[in-house]
């Protein structure tokens, strides 16, 4: 069923009793051309673009839980393309362009909202760094505006401009940034891929990779073995575990990141704002909850839950930025496991095993990358060569010294 105003009207008249499941809950067949491991945003987008851009359709996505149960449904939904380094900026700008056309392309309302992303600066040095970043973005075709204090005040009058330690001096605004409803991204790509003939198999955990001297031949799963000469890993926080099944050690540590939602409120804030003197960012969902977060907990974890010190730190940073937050109650918080890479940048590449492809290392910023990640990973799998905007995301860059370290933090994943 193609969604449109007419299907909506027809369903309304029938009391919304005629809606069909959005995708088939498929059973695995014994063999496919391509197996994608991981039914998160990246795996589903990859499957969709393999089918829609490269004409493949004998594809399966294997998901150990249910679609949307991983980070794609746990993130704070922010999209932006405000990166500094040449290896990153064109990639994230491609992603932004794909977001802009996504809903028409997949015929699904993902609530893409370009409400702007504003990064605040609190010192002259930080202003200069943001001016440089804004210039790099504009050179790569992205949009950026450097705002002074009064321009920020006009947008967000309720922030603490005269905070004794971190007065707000201004901000770098990307108007095309914003937020997207994350669950709808998973469901929308799943439906679009399904319509192209892709099988989406849930509750199917990959437990082993079948490899011999000429490469990969398939996977072992909790629902039996499945054969394919191309296997693509897109398992986010579990990348090291899957790579270990192929005898590979990755430049990755798994860490937990927490997120928070407040009680529902009337419209308070119509953009995304990030504090520049600590790690805190906040926006408001269409349901009214403030969605906010901060730093990762900082130690290896697969627990999908964090600890109290980070919660305290996030709340403190929030209060320093926006004192009015103190009146608001937190409703829920949760954690997700992310693959923190050694330079803070992702990997989209072949592995040393013939036919085994890797999409990993997205850290806490892979949601915004979902469309471009799928686009470029599909390109790599279909043509066996890197897409030009993802050419820097090589697995061997750590050995060759071509790391892409936006923060300049070095090989310490908990500092990125």
């Amino acid at each position: 069923m193609r969604y449109s105003i007419f299907t909506l009207a027809a369903q309304t008249l029938r009391g919304h009793r005629g809606w069909k499941p959005v995708w088939r809950d498929a059973n695995p067949r014994p063999e496919y051309d391509v197996i994608i491991v991981g039914g998160g945003g990246h795996g589903l987008a990859t499957a969709y673009y393999l089918a829609s851009q490269h004409g493949l359709s004998n594809i399966v996505v294997l998901e150990k839980g249910h679609i949307g149960s991983g980070n794609v449904g746990r993130n704070t939904t922010i999209i932006r393309s405000n990166y500094l380094l040449p290896g990153n900026t064109p990639f994230y700008e491609l992603s932004m362009k794909l977001w802009e056309g996504l809903e028409q392309d997949i015929n699904y309302n993902a609530m893409v909202s370009q409400r702007g992303v504003l990064n605040l600066y609190h010192s002259d040095a930080q202003r200069d760094a943001y001016a440089r970043r804004g210039n790099a973005m504009r050179l790569a075709g992205a949009d950026a505006e450097l705002l002074d204090r009064e321009q920020v005040r006009a947008m967000l009058p309720f922030l603490d401009y005269d905070n004794a330690r971190f007065p707000i001096q201004g901000g770098l605004l990307q108007k095309r940034g914003g937020s997207v409803r994350h669950d709808a991204v998973a469901w929308g790509y799943a439906r679009a891929a399904d319509r192209c003939g892709v099988d989406i198999v849930q509750n199917c955990e990959v437990t082993g990779l079948t490899i011999d001297a000429d490469g990969i031949h398939g996977v072992e799963t909790s629902r039996g073995p499945i054969r394919a000469r191309k296997v693509a890993l897109a398992v986010a926080g579990s990348s090291s575990r899957l790579a270990a099944m192929a005898g590979l050690r990755l430049p990755i540590e798994s860490h937990v990141l927490q997120a928070f939602v407040s009680e529902g409120l009337k419209p308070l804030i119509d953009t995304v704002v990030t504090f520049g003197a600590g790690h805190f960012y906040v926006s408001q969902s269409d349901k009214g909850g403030l969605v906010f977060g901060g730093d990762i907990d900082g130690y290896n974890s697969y627990a999908q839950r964090g600890n109290l010190p980070v919660i305290e730190d996030v709340m403190e940073s929030g209060m320093a930025l926006w004192p009015g937050l103190g009146r608001i109650r937190v409703l829920r918080h949760w954690g997700g496991i992310m693959d923190m890479s050694m330079d803070g940048s992702p990997i989209i590449d072949h592995t040393p095993v013939h036919g085994l492809y890797l999409n990993a290392g997205w850290c806490y910023g892979g949601f915004k990358a979902t469309p471009a990640s799928g686009w470029c990973f599909a390109h790599l799998i279909a043509r066996d060569q890197s897409h030009p905007v993802a050419a820097a995301y090589r697995l061997d860059r750590f050995a060759t010294g071509h790391v892409i370290d936006e923060k300049g933090a070095g090989a310490q994943p908990n500092l990125h």
């Binding site: 050690r249 430049p251 990755i252 540590e253 290896n300 697969y302 600890n307 050995a399």
Partner: protein, 88 residues
């Protein structure tokens, strides 16, 4: 999460700074190569389960310790001073 510092007793995790996997070892002068250094600086086992890891009691006694912890549950198995382990 609280960590049992062998010198100070059980303390809040906030007092500690994390370094990471305690099993990686810098290659000695005779085994030094680009590949060996890449393995040491960048590649990690990143286990889901038992991990030995370095923590620094930075807001306490300033000792480096090796904690054995389950990364799936955050349960602490043991904590020992790092120095004797590193020297051996």
């Amino acid at each position: 999460m609280r960590l049992p510092c062998p010198h100070c007793g059980t303390r809040d995790v906030q007092e500690f700074t994390y370094l990471g996997d305690a099993n990686v070892k810098r290659p000695g002068a005779d085994e030094m190569s680009e590949a060996a250094m890449t393995r040491y600086v960048y590649e990690r086992d990143n286990p889901a389960g038992r991990q030995r890891e370095y923590w620094h009691h930075s807001s306490g006694c300033h000792a480096w310790i090796v904690v054995t912890r389950d990364t799936r549950t955050h349960r602490i198995e043991s904590a020992e001073p790092a120095k004797p382990l590193v020297q051996s």
